[in-house]
Every structure is written in C-alpha cells, then in structure tokens.
C-alpha cells in the first residue's frame, strides 16, 4: 500500500511544503512508497509534486491531506476511493481574523475540517496543540508527529554571507522569523522593540518573513520605526543569516499550531524568548524562556538580559542544544510509525527465513541497463551481474531509459531478459528537462538549501521510478537483498531508504556539487554496507557524511583479453603515436580542457601524437590532430588501448576510472587529470602514469610518458594485477551472505 499526500498549494519554503517533504522522507524510511500531489504549485516543482488530477490510487492506498484555508481538496479526498488521513498544523485564528476578508475562508476551513472527521481514519497533528484541535473537531484516531529540525542546516557556514553582512550589527538585535500574519502579532513585536529602544537607543528588530498584504499598514508603520529591518520572504540561507545575526529570537505569535522557527533558532544558537501560546510550550519543552503575559517594558529588560548576560545566555543555549537532540528526524519517525501502526499501516513484510541451500534472491537497482548502454556505473553493474549470476538468483530493477540525459522511456516497461537475466523495467513519468535542470543547478549549487529544495532538485535529476518504489514496498519481501548502484540518482537515492537494511550500496560517488545536499545522508547512512571503488571515494564520503554506513573498498576486477594493437591501427588508419580517450565525449568528462591542452601540445611540439576520441559524442570536438571515432566495440577498445602511447583520463569527477584500470591492464600508461582525486590516487599508487593540471603541464606530461613509457608500462601491469574479479566477487558474496545470515 502506498501513502500519498495531497497539498493545497506547494511552494518551497512554506511550512506545508516542508511538512509534506519531511513526511515523504519519513514514510520512505518506514518502507512506504507514495507521491505528492498539489492543487496548485510553484513553477519548477513539477518533478517533485504532481497535479491532483494525476493521483491514481488503489483501494488499499492511503491519502493524507494537508488541510489549509481555501483548499478544495477536502471534497476530493472524501470522494477518493482509498483510506484517508488528515495532516494538520493548525488554521489561522478566527479570533485574530474576525472582521477581516479572511474570516470567511477561516470559517469555511474549520467547517471542512469538522466535515472530514467522520470520513477520515487518521489525524496527524504537527503539534499536540494541533492534535487537540483535531480531537475537538471530532477526529478519533489522532497522533502528534512534530516536524523535525536538522541542526546542521542552521550551522554558521549555511548562512547567506551577503545578507549576514547586511543585517549583522554590534547593537542589540531582536530577530523574528516566519510569515508575518495576524498570528505573528507584528504590533506586539513593535511594542517590545520600542521599549528596548528606551534602554538601548541603537537596538534593532530584524524581521524575516513574507508580510500578509492585509497587514500592509502595520508593515509600513514598522518600516518607519527606528531600528526595524523588514526583510520580507528570505531563502533558507537568509533565514540562517537572520537567526545568526540576532541577540535573541523573540516570538509574540498567538494560536500557532506549530512553531518550527523556535527549534531552528535553537539550531542557529540564538536564545529564544517566546510567548507561551499555541504550540510554543510543547515546542520549547523547557528550553529557552517562555512568558505568559505581554508586559513589554518587563520583556524588554528580560530580552536584554538574555542577550547580553554571558552566563545566562550560555546556560540557555546549552539547554536549547539538549532540546534539539530529541527534535531530529528519529523522534518524528518513531511517532509517525506509531501513528501508522495504530490504523494498520504496518511496515512492509520482511522476506521469509531462507530454507535449504537456495541461492539468495537479489535485486540489482541501477538507473539504466541493457545492451548498448554505456556508462561507468551501468557497465560496472553489468560486470557484477555477469560474475554473480551463477551464485545469486538475480533480477535487475531499472528504468526504461537508454539515454542518460533525458531518461526517456525508450524500452517497454515490464519483465524482459538481458543475457538470460530477468530485468524488470519501470517507466519514468517525466523525462528529464536538461535545460531546466541545468538552470536550477546553477541557481542552487553552492547555496545552502532546506530539505524541500534539495528533494526538488533530486526529483528533477531523476529518473523518477514510482513503479519501482511501489514494487519495493509491495514485493520487497521476495528479495533477500539488494545491490543498488549510483547514489546520485533518485532511482537509487529514494529506493535505498525503503529497503535500507537489506541493501549493499555501490555509491560510485565522485566530487559533485549535489553531494553537498544533506538529503543524500539518507543514502550513505542507512544501507547495510557501502561497497566503494577507491580509497579516494571512501575519503570523499567520509568527509561529507561522517556518519556513513560501514564501508569497504571493493572496486572491480579487470580482465584484459588478448589484444592486437595493429588491428586497431589498420582499421582506423593510425600509423603513428596516438593518445586515446574512451568514454562519453561531453563537457562533464573534461573534454573541453583536454582539447585546450592538446592545442597547446601541438603548438609546442612538431611531432605531437594524434588525439583519438572514442565514444558517444555530444559536443563539437573538431580540431587539428583530433580523430573522432564514435562508439567502438569492446575488442576495438582493448586493441586501441594496447597500442596507445597513453590513455587520457581528463574527467575531474571519477569514482573508479575504469578507463585507467583497463589501460593499466594492457600495459599502457595514463595521462590523468590532477583535478580528480581518484585518478591522482591511481597514478600515485601505480607509478604508471603522469597527471596534468593545465595545458603547460599536459605538454610536460606527454614528454615524460614518451621518455619513460617502457618503465611506466611495467608498473601499469603490476598495478592492474591487483584488480581481480575473484576478490571482488568474494567481497560481494561475503557481504550478502552475512546480511542474509543476520536476518
């Protein structure tokens, strides 16, 4: 059974969007597939969130509705043939909106909330305060699942430096973060600020959050008040900068159903002073300072003391850190699990105990698979399958794509066989729009994001395989274990949490901006074991995700066939020396840099070797001395490598560099990019190559290879002999057997 969610309006950064994405992450951890659907949504989120009209349910599925004013979704939910739940973070206060244009919408939302009660089996309050409202509205099975806060996202280095420089000041600063609605009580913040100004004339009040248009007059008054900075809506990095620029985070909010900003402030190491209303007391849970009356002169004195008395501040911050320890995802996961269990949404069943000497049934999860599909991780998966198919009962779980740029469904979905091995293909409902992805990547890479923004990028990256996720939930028990390839793609990243304790992950991770996303922690921390390719890859994972699962450097084996270099030379008319690159000829592989270096080489020496590029080409590489062969067969590749002066590995992003290893196996040295730690590692350990950083060092490197080729070739063969398939296969089998035995 899948657990879907309905959201009235999905906008990144909104509390509803954050709640929906957090629940999606927790549901995955609990083994449940499901999709997000919205009545309306921010442009650019279409990969993560589908329209409501696209919701397809099976009778045993659950649909959780996030309730908000103005939504037409309650009627839709009541007429959707499925099991139903409501997620509730509170509604705008009727008391505070009486007589305003919003009053009718608030009344209607409250009526709809009550109207759904008899038809909904589960109410999830985002706070005990919200849960109490659900109970009063007639919901019977009500549970509280608070939103979680990942403290690391509010660290000092996550703050927007420009905004921080703008708002930071030595003066005493009160900060307030969150939507400026009637509930935020802007008038009370101003009253407090005016009292602080009477004691500290240079004091400031920094307010970050979108201002409700109905409060325009009040906002205008605020902006005219001395020391008040109204930032409007800010990004996640902006929120961090705002928190961190404050002496004290102050909240005058009333009737708020959840108070995530208080926990965020704690994570950003700011003392919290909050009016004890709505969900505030339970959110603080004894940390920070809460008050029960609005006496602004007294509060001004208190806030100054809290922000400037070193000892008091240290004590409060220490208590807030303790509070945060139980505000992480683990606590919310436990609460959600209990809530789901109460209505019979159990974790998917585990595989039955193995009897006899049956081969373990293993699902291999990989983004693409099939004849003619090239790509490092895909080839890696195919090689592992070929060597383990006699030991394991293997089934490939993959997409219908052959093109790694669009993930378009080129092959039919369903069961087929490739080289006798069963392959189950799942369709991708939304091909990848590369231009949109590249534009988004330019906007978000290098910036600090919140979980919903990261998941939105990951969804756009694809490939989206909802069928695979449902298969893992509903039929995962048929498998003793899984081997999942390539951590970067959601085909793996969102599959691993569903079956984490039965998964061996082959991350094939390399330096990539997306690896900065905390959302990838799920992939690296939750599997049973990581089977990495090189010590450099392990080092990278360890630096980025120090709490990663146990890891083991396994790599691959390289078996060089008998080669005939002359055959390649004759076929492609290459009588002289040549440098050979084999792989996808595209920007991401460092080809532009290689071409520039090669031009320098031709300008420096008269007898420059030919540069031969073999592989699928997606860029213009025409240049003097460059031969473009297109795709070559496996025997041609080996013959070509054996006859080359050196193999060139220009990619700065490698997790293994199969090209380098295959080159070494036939005694050919490597000219490798020094920008890739993996290639650098191979070259240093093997002493069978030379690295280059720029055109000048490339010229020197070619000269060195020419001088030392015989010695380099001997070292290459010695190094390649370490990469034996028997060792690799033994490692995979050992880990799978151990996993199955422990179960």
């Amino acid at each position: 059974m899948a657990v879907h969610q309905l959201v009235p309006h999905f906008r990144l950064g909104d509390e509803t969007a954050r709640a929906a994405v957090q629940l999606r992450v927790l549901l995955r951890r609990l083994g449940h597939a499901g999709s997000l659907h919205a009545e309306s949504q921010e442009p650019g989120t279409e990969a993560l969130v589908q329209p409501v009209e696209a919701l397809r349910v099976q009778p045993e599925d659950w649909v959780l509705l996030h309730h908000a004013p103005g939504s037409r979704l309650p009627a839709r939910l009541l007429h959707t043939p499925c099991r139903r739940g409501v997620v509730f973070g509170g509604l705008p206060s009727l008391r505070l909106n009486r007589g305003t244009p919003r009053e009718r919408a608030v009344l209607a939302a409250r009526a709809r909330l009550s109207g759904m009660a008899a038809h909904v089996s589960l109410g999830l309050g985002l706070s005990a305060f919200a849960s109490a409202e659900l109970s009063r509205a007639g919901y019977r099975e009500v549970h509280t699942v608070p939103l979680f806060v990942e403290a690391g996202r509010f660290a000092a280095d996550r703050a927007d430096p420009a905004l921080r420089a703008r708002v930071e000041s030595k003066a005493f600063t009160l900060v307030s973060v969150g939507p400026v609605t009637a509930e935020a009580r802007l008038e009370d913040l101003l009253a407090l600020h005016r009292e602080v100004l009477r004691i500290r004339p240079d004091a400031r009040l920094v307010i970050a959050g979108e201002v409700d248009p109905d409060l325009a007059a009040l906002a205008s008054e605020a902006s005219r008040t001395r020391g008040v900075v109204l930032l409007g809506a800010v990004s996640h990095a902006g929120r961090v900068a705002t928190y961190r620029s404050g002496s004290v985070l102050v909240s005058m909010r009333e009737d708020a159903g959840s108070s995530a900003e208080l926990l965020e402030a704690m994570a950003a190491e700011v003392p919290v002073l909050a009016y004890a209303a709505g969900a505030v007391p339970e959110t603080l849970d004894g940390a920070g300072v809460a008050f029960d009356e609005k006496r602004f002169a007294l509060l001004a004195e208190l806030s100054l003391r809290l922000g400037t008395d070193g000892k008091l501040r240290t004590r409060v911050l220490r208590g807030q850190r303790r509070r945060l320890e139980v505000a992480g995802p683990h606590g919310s996961e436990e609460r959600l699990s209990a809530a789901l269990e109460s209505v019979g949404i159990h974790r998917p069943p585990r595989p039955a105990r193995r009897t006899g000497r049956r081969r373990p049934r293993v699902g291999i999860i990989v983004q693409r698979y099939g004849p003619g599909i090239t790509g490092g991780a895909e080839a890696h998966a195919a090689q592992v399958v070929a060597r383990l198919v006699s030991r394991w009962d293997i089934r490939l779980l993959t997409s219908c794509a052959t093109d790694h740029l669009t993930w378009a469904n080129a092959l039919p979905p369903g069961e087929t066989r490739v080289d006798g091995v069963p392959v189950l293909r799942f369709a991708n409902p939304r091909p990848r729009p590369m231009r949109e992805l590249n534009a988004l990547s330019r906007r978000v890479f290098g910036r600090s994001l919140d979980l919903d923004e990261e998941e939105s990028w990951m969804a756009l990256q694809g490939p989206l395989l909802p069928g695979l996720w449902r298969h893992l939930e509903e039929r995962g028990a048929e498998y003793d274990g899984f081997v999942a390839f390539t951590s970067l793609y959601v085909s793996t990243a969102w599959s691993v949490p569903l079956v984490a304790d039965r998964t061996l992950l082959v991350p094939t991770a390399h330096e990539d901006e997306a690896l900065a996303f905390d959302a990838y922690a799920e992939v690296f921390e939750r599997p049973r074991v990581l089977l990495v390719n090189t010590p450099e890859e392990l080092d990278l994972i360890h630096r980025r995700f120090p709490r990663h699962a146990r890891a083991r450097v396994v790599g691959v084996g390289v078996d060089a066939p008998a080669v005939q270099p002359g055959r390649f030379r004759r076929r492609y008319e290459l009588p002289g020396e040549y440098l050979l690159y084999v792989g996808r000829v595209e920007r991401g592989k460092g080809i532009p840099g290689l071409l520039e270096a090669y031009r320098s080489l031709r300008a420096s020496v008269t007898d420059a070797p030919t540069l031969v590029l073999a592989g699928e080409t997606s860029m213009d590489v025409r240049a003097e001395g460059v031969r473009v062969l297109g795709r070559v067969s496996e025997p041609e590749k080996w013959d070509g490598l054996a006859g080359a002066l050196a193999a060139v590995v220009p990619s700065p992003r490698e997790s293994l560099s199969l090209l380098a290893l295959e080159s070494f196996a036939v005694g050919t040295p490597v000219l490798g990019s020094a920008a890739s730690p993996v290639v650098r590692g191979h070259v240093q350990r093997s002493r069978a190559g030379v690295t280059f950083e720029d055109p000048a060092t490339f010229v020197d490197a070619v000269a060195e290879v020419r001088r030392e080729r015989a010695a380099l070739a001997r070292s290459a063969r010695r190094y390649a002999a370490r990469y034996r398939w028997e060792r690799v296969v033994a490692a995979y089998r050992e880990e799978m057997d151990e996993m199955v035995k422990r179960r």
């Binding site: 509604l91 206060s93 009727l94 008391r95 305003t100 244009p101 009718r104 009344l107 209607a108 409250r110 009526a111 709809r112 009550s114 109207g115 409202e133 009063r136 509205a137 007639g138 009370d188 009253a191 009333e254 009737d255 004890a276 209303a277 007391p281 603080l284 004894g286 940390a287 920070g288 300072v289 809460a290 008050f291 029960d292 009356e293 609005k294 006496r295 602004f296 002169a297 007294l298 004195e301 208190l302 003391r305 008091l312 004590r315 409060v316 220490r318 208590g319």
Partner: protein, 144 residues
C-alpha cells in the same frame, strides 16, 4: 507574569527585571490576550448558512472581496443597470434558492439521523452491546 524555562532561575530573573523597571519609574499592565479555543463548526449547518449568504446572485459581492478601483466601476454599472441584472439573473437566483432549500432539508435530515443514531447506540451500550449490528443486506429475489 510567569517565566518558564528549565535553564533559568525564573524568580530571580523576573525580580531583577522588575527592580530595574522600578528604578526607571515604570509600572505597566499586561496586554489582555483572549485565550479562547478556536470554535468547532458543524459543517452541514455552516454550508447551509454559506449558501444562504451567496444565494442572491443579483446582489454585489462584499467590497472587501475585490480591489477598490474595480468596486467603484462596478457600483456605477449596478446603479445604472440593476433592473436588467435582476431580470437576467432571476432564474439563477431561483435555482440557488432551491439548491439552498434542498441542502438545508438534507442537512437537517442528516443531523437528525445522526442524533437518533447516537441515542440508539447509547441505548445499545447500556444494554451491554458494543455497537449496532451492521445493516443486513437485502434478501435476494429468487428467480424462476
């Protein structure tokens, strides 16, 4: 005023703040904040009332529901053409009234039935049975 927090000496902190206020010659009253729980609305009755509010399609929307400039232009149009508007929308107005009446009738029935069900269930519980039996399916007609 009370201060809450595990990591503070609330009494001492409050006392010190009060002393400073006194030294500055300030005495203040607390801002009165209503703390009533949000109302729970009976959805069927609410919908009947909401239908009633919007029943007459010949009447203008509240001024707050649209921008001021638009309001002014429409008001002028209404003054000139109200009788035409009434005539054109008369059938819609009658239809709305019937929908509202039908909805009110059905809602009243549902509310009454729910109340009767509650009474019956309470009586059943009193007699020691936990719930009413599920409704029996209709006996099948024999063919032939």
């Amino acid at each position: 005023m009370k201060l809450l927090g595990r990591d503070i000496d609330a009494r001492a902190l409050l006392q010190a703040a009060r002393e400073r206020l006194e030294a500055r010659g300030i005495r203040e009253e607390a801002l009165a904040v209503e703390a009533e729980p949000e109302p729970v609305l009976e959805p069927l009755s609410f919908l009947v009332r909401a239908l009633e509010e919007d029943e007459d399609s010949t009447q203008p929307l509240a001024a707050s529901d649209r921008p001021a400039r638009v309001s002014l232009a429409r008001r002028a149009f209404r003054l000139a053409c109200q009788s035409l508007i009434d005539e054109v929308l008369e059938r819609q107005r009658r239809f709305n009234a019937r929908v509202r009446e039908a909805d009110a009738q059905l809602a009243a029935e549902v509310i009454q039935l729910r109340a009767r069900l509650e009474v019956l269930e309470a009586a059943e519980r009193k007699r020691g049975r936990t719930a009413l039996p599920a409704p029996r399916s209709k006996p099948r007609k024999r063919r032939g």
